[in-house]
Every structure is written in structure tokens, then in C-alpha cells.
Symmetry: C2
DNA sequence: AGTAATAGTTAGCGAGAATAACTATTTAAG
DNA sequence: CTTAAATAGTTATTCTCGCTAACTATTACT
């Protein structure tokens, strides 16, 4: 009931910056995590590895992410480039405005409550 | 954060019945509404008309929906067939189990609270 | 009567995600 | 210490779901 309108508007906002949701969610994760492997991203987003590979490839072509040596020669640990960080912060402004707009009239307590409950549900699903 | 795991699991459950989310959401709407035109479904799901046409066509081929005369010769008013109603009830059992499972430990008050707030957000987005 | 608007369809495109089958590397077991 | 199993990632292919643009058919408005 909420997802489609939310997705539609978010894609509209992100489109202004030549980004899609899948790309944005990885920028977001890397910015807040410093770095991550494909598998970590895969688990975080609940998508399969090939999906991650494709999106990461695009982000690499755009110059937003780069890979750094991991503890293995198998794993590919990724992090944001300087350009990627700048991009994140730039888009963040737009996304913040969007969030503020759609949360108008919802108190901070209510927001926290919803996040807490959604997290509980998430745990139930992934269990 | 919640959508992908939810979608994955739901599709898994629906897959047991040879259905996809898009189809299920229309079955759901028609069952609870008696009948609807393409435009009504389009608005309800926040999806464009061609998308509705395609999904409805599939449901028609599967024998779950049929069209009845509307107030126009333009509009195509759809309703569930007997088979469609039976299918809905059959799948409903699976979906109920799924919902119960993922809502374990969430009180009814909390559920209502979340629904209320999500509805408020939805209104903000569509405004 | 002639133009607007509304309902739906067709054609074509693209995002996003999945599975299956593969390579490369690392870990564990006999 | 070598071989089998597990892990990380890629490639190829397929599917759903959704979009826009351009169309037909019908109805409403001026």
C-alpha cells in the first residue's frame, strides 16, 4: 500500500541525479559502512549476488566506487571514491527533503515506533 | 529495509500456487471490492494502465477473472470468476499463515499504529 | 458538429532480480 | 599434504514488473 507510491516518487527524485534506487541503496550502505564485499551487500539488500555484481559494475563505471584489497583474494571489498562520497552527500540533500515532506505530521516518536516494529518484522521474516 | 525480504518470502509462498505478487494484489482487490475497472485497479496499485492490462490478461487466461458490462462501452469492469474466488480463498490460507508468522510478537495495537502511520505517509506522498 | 477527455490496448524499452553453470580461491578432512 | 567442500564472484539467460509513446474507441463538453 505504501511501497509503490514511495518508489515512484523516490525514483523521480533520484532521477534528477541520474541514479536509480538499486544504485542509491548501495551508495547509502557504503557511505554508512565504510566498505563492504559483494556478499555483505547481497545480505543487506536481500538480493542475489549477480544482481549486486551488475549494480556495482555500473557504479564503478560512473566512478562512484572502487575496490580495495580484502582479507582474501576471492572477496572484492568495495568502498566509495571521493566522487562517490560527494555524490552521496549531494543526493542526500534531495532525499532529506523528500523524507521531510512525506513525514510531515508524523512525530519523531511515531517514526521511531514504526522503524522499531518494521525491524522486528524483518527479523521474523529472515529467521 | 523491509520490502525486499517481504517480497522474496511472499513470492515464495505465492509461487506454490503459481501466482505472482502483481496477480495476487489484483485478486485481493477484486475479492474485497466485488468488481473494478482497469483505471480503478491502476489507481489502487499506483501502477500505469498498460501494466494492469497485462496482468489482467494473464488472470483472464488462467480463468480467474472475467469482464462484465460496465456503465460505459469504454470501461471494462472486471470481477472474479468462481474459480478465481476459490483460488483466492485457497491462497488466502497460505498468506494468512505467512502474515501470522512475520507478525509474531507484534501486538494488534502496534499493527494498527503502523498501518495508520503508513497511511498518513501515503497521503503525504500522493498529495 | 467538433473538440476534450476518458478507458483501454499495443509496441517497445529498461530496471531489477532470479537461476544455473561456471572460475578462482580458501578451508577442512582423510 | 592432497583432495573434497565451501565461499566469493562472474557470465549467460530468463522472467516479472513497470514505464512511455502512440494508438483506437467511446463518451462528455462547448
Amino acid at each position: 500500500m505504501l511501497y509503490r507510491p514511495f518508489e515512484n516518487r523516490l525514483n523521480l527524485e533520484l532521477g534528477k541525479h541520474d541514479l536509480y534506487r538499486a544504485q542509491w541503496s548501495i551508495l547509502y550502505y557504503l557511505f554508512n559502512n565504510g566498505s563492504a564485499t559483494h556478499v555483505e551487500i547481497s545480505n543487506y539488500l536481500s538480493v542475489e549476488k549477480p544482481t549486486v555484481t551488475r549494480t556495482i559494475t555500473r557504479l564503478e563505471q560512473q566512478g562512484y566506487v572502487e575496490h580495495i584489497p580484502g582479507k582474501d583474494r576471492r572477496e572484492k571489498r568495495m568502498q566509495l571514491t571521493e566522487l562517490g562520497k560527494a555524490k552521496y552527500l549531494e543526493v542526500r540533500v534531495t532525499v532529506d527533503q523528500y523524507e521531510e515532506e512525506i513525514l510531515k505530521g508524523i512525530s519523531v516518536e511515531e517514526q521511531q515506533e514504526v522503524i522499531r516494529i518494521m525491524n522486528d518484522i524483518r527479523k521474523n521474516i529472515l529467521k
